[in-house]
Each structure stands twice: as C-alpha cells, then as structure tokens.
Amino acid sequence: MALITCHDVTLGYEGTVLVEDLNFEIGSGDYLCILGENGSGKSTLIRTLLHLQDPVKGTVTEGDGLRKNEIGYLPQQTLVQKDFPASVEEIVLSGCLGRSGFRPFYTKEEKALAGKNMERLGILDLKKRCYRELSGGQQQRVLLARSLCATQKILLLDEPVSGLDPKAALEMYDLIAQLNRESGITVIMVTHDMVSIRYATHILHIGDGWFFGTKDEYLSSPAGSSFAGLYETEQKEGE
C-alpha cells in the first residue's frame, strides 16, 4: 500500500485554481522529485501534503501505518533562523517535540536519538556550536538531522540546496540519496535543478496540467524532454 495517496486533488487559493485533479501515490522507498516553475503550486502542494492547508477538492490520505505528523519536513530557511542563537543540539532535539505531547522535557531515548542522527549526518562534533556560525551546508545538515528525529519513514524537502554553493549542493544531494538507499527513507523533494533528478525514481511535474510517472517515462514525455533539453544545453555551456 502507498504511504501517501493524492486522489483527485485540486489546489489553489482564493478562487485561483493552480492544479486540477491531481492523482498520484508515493510508495515506501520511492524518491519523488516535484518539478515546476515558480508560482505553479509546488509550495501549496507541500502545505497540503503536510496538512497545513486543505485542498480545494479531493483527498490526501496516509497509508502503510504512516501517521499524519510523521512526515519529516525540511522547510526553506527563513530570515529569522539566519542569526538565531541556538546550539545545534537544541535544534536537532526539537525534532522530537511532536511526539512528546504535554511532557515538558526530553527523555533519555529522545536525546540518544538526536545524538544518533547527528552522528549519521556527521555533525556530532558541532553539537555545542551556535547555529548562526555554521556554513550553509552545515546548517542544512542540522535541519535534516532535526527532521530525522521526527520521522524514520518519509522526508519532504523544500528546495534543500537553495543558497548553497555547488560543492555543498552536491554533497547534500548525495547525503539525501544515501538516506534513501541505505535507510530506505522515502524522499519527496521540491527542486528547480535538473542535477537533482539523477537519483529520483519518480517525477511529478506541475504547470500547464501535470505529469506523474517514473523518471524514464518523464524523460521521454514532451514536458520532460523539453526540460531535459534545457539541462543538456546548460551542461554543454558549462563545459
């Protein structure tokens, strides 16, 4: 059974329809890239998948034992976070909050989980460091470790490499792919960047209708080949 199923979902706001009758499923272990231009409704789709917003029409359902608040979310960085005085450990631990209910402190298990996730992403030695003093790539790792504290099943990443230099961006993509391959974590990633679909198994393209399918199906579709064509030109210019 699929982890998340979107059935006849129409997205939009205040009378504007962005995407109509969207149907797709995300299975366990999939790596889905969501592509589309600015304003095509990617952010609205994310907010809908996270149940922060209701779709205009249709349903989003979780299956396979996934609970509603078990989606590890990596939002885009906000202005507030850039100079926030918090240690890496404090931020990673806050990923455990969702399950703590009214309990006002963290348990030993939660602290151990945070430690494990920091080690997994290679930031354990930064744990006492201040978030605002880290490099962009390190900051993204901290936020990724936080999402891993919230879930072991599925990550939803909103343009995880925006603002990173090319080297840090590639490292970030490798890291995400590694989590997908080795830990079997399902990945949903919003991206602008053709490089990132290298690891994808499925593609959802929104804008002027929508396309959903495996990566190979996408690359041979009209929408996909025009997008891929752009990528190839870019590559050639880069050489």
Partner: protein, 278 residues
C-alpha cells in the same frame, strides 16, 4: 549611602515597589528573547499604547477598576498582532504601527474631550512615562502581581521547548504535530498580561526597553537558546534592582533610571563581545 537605602527599604511601599519591579522585569525578559527573534521588538511599544488607549476609555466610562477594560483589549490586540499571518493583508511592523499610533491618538483625544481632571497633561505624562503609582501599590495589588508572575514563569518553564520550537521554525513545528497556533496564542496572551503589569512600573513608553534590552544584551554574549534566556533573565533582574535603588539614591524617575541602567548593560555586553572576537 547604605544607611539611606536601609531607611527607605524600611518603608513597606518601597519594598512592594522593589518586589513588583523585579517580577515584571523578570517576566518581560523571559519572553523578550522570543519576541526579538520573531522580529516583534516593537510589540511592547505598540501594545502599551493600546493599553493607554484602553485606559483612556476606562477613565471616560468611569469604570472603577480600569483593568477590566485594559486587560481584555490588550490581550485581543496582542492576539491579532501575533497571529501567524500567511494571508494577512497588513502585517508585521505596519500592523503594530497602525494599532500603536491609532490608540495613542484616540486615547489622548478621548481624555481631552471628556476630561474630568484639571491636570490633563500631567495624567497623560504619568501614564506614558510611568508615575509614582509604583510607590502607592496596595498589598492586594502586590499579591496579584506575584500571582500573575508565578503563572507566567510557570507557563514559560513548562512550555519552554515548545516556545523554542515555535520561535525557531513555525512551519516545521506545525507540520510535525506541535500546535504552533496555540503556542502563538499563549505567547500573545502572556505578552499582553506582562505589558499591562509593567505599565505601573515604567509606563507605556518604556516597556519596550524591559522586553528588548536584556534579550539583546544576552544575545551578544551567549550562543545557545537556554544560556541566552537565563542570561537575559539575570541581567534584567540585576538592572532593574540597580535602577530602582539608584532612583531612590539620586531621586530620579524610576522608569527612566531602569532604562538607563539597561542601556549601560547593553553597551558593556557589546564591548565584551567585541573584545572576545578580536
């Protein structure tokens, strides 16, 4: 000097003033960190003007206990301002400015038209800059202030991790099952209560100082949220005590003396962080 202080502290009203002063400063500084980080530094100023406007309405309506009007109105405005506004038409600084300037103007207008007092500008001045009212507190008012402060500090400690999460990243907190809206509401209500409390102490205009200075000073020195919060609370209490005792010794106005000490502490912290980095 110590003799003079001891003489003053022998009076119960001076002791009351010190207790109320320290408690309000402590509460204000705890939430100050969160407010400054959420880019709401001016909310203290805005809400205190709202409280001033509400006070004018209470005076015009001859309500015996003005708190019955001031507190609900201020709480309501705080909720409106701090509500997470993805789709709000007017937001952030503009919304605070509108409420602040609007209620200041309307409040003064009302007081002017319906004034029963012969010393209008004196009244206005004392509610804006803090008055001698902190020296005329009754024991019942002190008890109320202690009770409210205990509740505020208790809430803060109990929900500390959630307040951190909601301040750092509202959408993540909401998506992973923390009800961010509920905690924004909690923060808004607490802020409003603190501001109404603090009006007695430093007056509307200077409340912002109690909220932002300790937080900003602490952020110069420390780098984790916990240490910033603790340092901000300690600094705030020390500065307020120094300011109050200073105002007794030098016979200066209480509110402005506290603010002057806060500014001095802020400059010292800036200096320390400069030296450390060099």
């Amino acid at each position: 000097m110590i003799e003079t202080l001891r003489m003053y502290l022998a009076y119960p009203f001076v002791r009351y003033a010190v207790i109320v002063g320290v408690l309000t400063a402590l509460c204000a500084s705890l939430l100050g960190v969160s407010l400054v980080l959420k880019r709401f530094s001016f909310i203290g100023d805005g809400l205190s003007h709202v409280a001033f406007g509400a006070m004018a309405i209470a005076a015009v309506l001859h309500v015996a206990n003005s708190m019955l009007i001031v507190l609900p109105v201020t709480v309501l405005c705080a909720i409106l301002l701090l509500r997470p506004g993805q789709n709000a038409k007017i937001r952030g600084d503009a919304a605070i400015a509108i409420l602040s300037v609007g209620s200041l103007g309307i409040g003064y207008l009302l007081m002017n038209i319906f004034s029963t007092s012969s010393n209008l500008s004196g009244d206005v001045c004392s509610s804006l800059f803090g008055s001698t009212s902190i020296l005329t507190l009754s024991s019942a008012e002190v008890a109320l202030c202690i009770a409210v402060s205990v509740i505020v500090i208790g809430c803060f400690i109990f929900f500390y991790h959630k307040i951190f999460a909601v301040t750092f990243d509202e959408s993540f907190a909401q998506a992973t099952g923390t009800d961010a809206e509920k905690f924004n509401l909690l923060i808004a209500v607490i802020v409003a209560v603190i501001i109404v409390l603090a009006m007695n102490l430093v007056g509307s205009l200077l409340i912002s100082a109690l909220i932002i200075f300790p937080a900003l000073s602490a952020m110069r020195l420390f780098s984790s949220f916990l240490s910033v919060t603790v340092c901000s609370a300690v600094l705030s209490v020390v500065c307020t005590l120094t300011g109050m005792l200073g105002s007794i010794l030098w016979e200066t106005p209480v509110g402005s003396t506290i603010v002057a000490v806060d500014i001095a502490a802020f400059l010292i912290c800036c200096l320390i962080s400069r030296v450390r980095r060099a």
